[in-house]
Amino acid sequence: MRLAVLLKTVPDLVEELALDEDARTLLFDEMSYVPSEWDDQALEEALIIKEESGAEVTVIAVDTGDVDTMLFTALAKGADYAVKIVGDFDAAMSNWQKARVVADYLGRGDFDAVLSGVQAIDDVDGQLPGLVAGFLGWPHASVITEVRVAGGSHLQLRQEYAGGLVAELETVTPIVVGVQAARKPPRYASVAKVRQVAKSATIDEVEADVAEARLAGVEYVRPVAAGHAEMIEGDIDEVVDRIVAILEERNLLRRA
């Protein structure tokens, strides 16, 4: 079984998003990026499948900035191959455009299943796995929490719905899966291990042309919150006092 895992980076929300409030644009070059957390789950699920059934795992990223560390980290965790799709791309590249180049690449290969994060924080123009599947005309399922090889060319998937309801699906390959969570928390690769892999492993580069974006004139603004919490100031004791007082006022304290 040949698995492809699509990885991408997203702005790091730990830092302030670089917004030009007057121009209502995001300054993509001024932000730092981290791997999208759901992609990390997709990679973990692929590595679990590899351990169970000997699948081969290829990680794929579009070169929108520094994606090498992310790819080397995936190799350090156990992925077999890394592919970087290169071209005239930048950090502002939309998901639609990424999906286009990734779908073209996947369409030329012979992957059995494509796994990627069910969503990412920046996919204003759609989630990558669904778009890729749609472009390829392949079946697709999202919000998946388990992927198992079920003999021959079949896979079994667990799909989650609201309230914890789950369906078990059986599907033929090729298929695209949007992973919500892996069966186990994502593994960790030490910095030393990643560094070592970066010295010995190679990333295959594949050239592609940039596709046309489908949405124009997208503006970004901060939400005007209907309200904001009344902030409780002071040291821990003062905060405790205030919370106790709030609870007392509302009769929420247990009487001894």
Partner: protein, 316 residues
Amino acid sequence: MGPILIVLENGAAGVTEATKECVNKAKSLAAQLGTTTVAVGFGKQHVSDLRRLAVTKVVIASGGTMDLYNPDAYEKVLAEIFGNVKPYLTLIANTTMGLDLGAGLAGRTQTPLIAYGIDIEEQDGRLTAISQVFAGKLLARVPIPEDGAIVTVIPGSWPADNEAGDPEIEEWTAQDSEAMRVLRVVEPEQSDIDITKADILVSVGRGIEGPDNLPLAEDLAEALGGVVSCSRPVVDAGWLPKARQVGKSGQTVKPKLYLACGISGAPEHLQGMRDADLIIAINTDESASIMDIAHFGTTADMLELMPALAERLKGG
């Protein structure tokens, strides 16, 4: 201009609130733009409700595997109906089904998609979708292209439409999926603790850092006479059972007190707790989205505050 298409969810529990919300918005936009509304429903379940929707036309896809949600079969029949209706705007609630069908349909039909919509504004006949991105930290204002778009909509964005109508009905025969089969549907496991019935929830998020810190939350919950609930990553990490999860893919709760500890307030989390009577948020980041809906907030370190508060409550 083509009609406005609404993709309905009409499973075992009937037409969902989230899709009735889309019907509501579609109707008002159609009136503003001078176009019609078409809703697509699937299978035989609650068909009588579909026949009474207050839209211009309802297309009912039946046969094949339509009675039970099948991502592949639904996407294919929806793409056919989409090709036939030629809508200007398509609204799909951003549930599991919406996550499947929205992007899949967009890719298949080469139609632009706008995800995580929370509103659509009309001005001089032009529409702008407002969508919630970066975990709710920013809104994107996206002009809907002249040749139309699909918008996936976060549940709760508009009031639900409960009006009765007399739509034209079109039956559509769907094919079986050759690629995908639903083996079984599993109900969530029963739990000894029902967080939807608790008056007080001490809810922990990724800020709890690890299972070793959970006793701090348990202690505080006990001192308050409540129980511990959590955000999704805490369940995914295996630190607490699924039954404790609040949010879109967990439980919807409405306690008297929701103490959110180390929870950022992602839209999927807020969906499950925003109606709590009193929300107090403990989060070192004052700009975290949870602060926008909390009544009170503090930037204290939860790992210090939880034990201090528990001790005070126990000490009287």
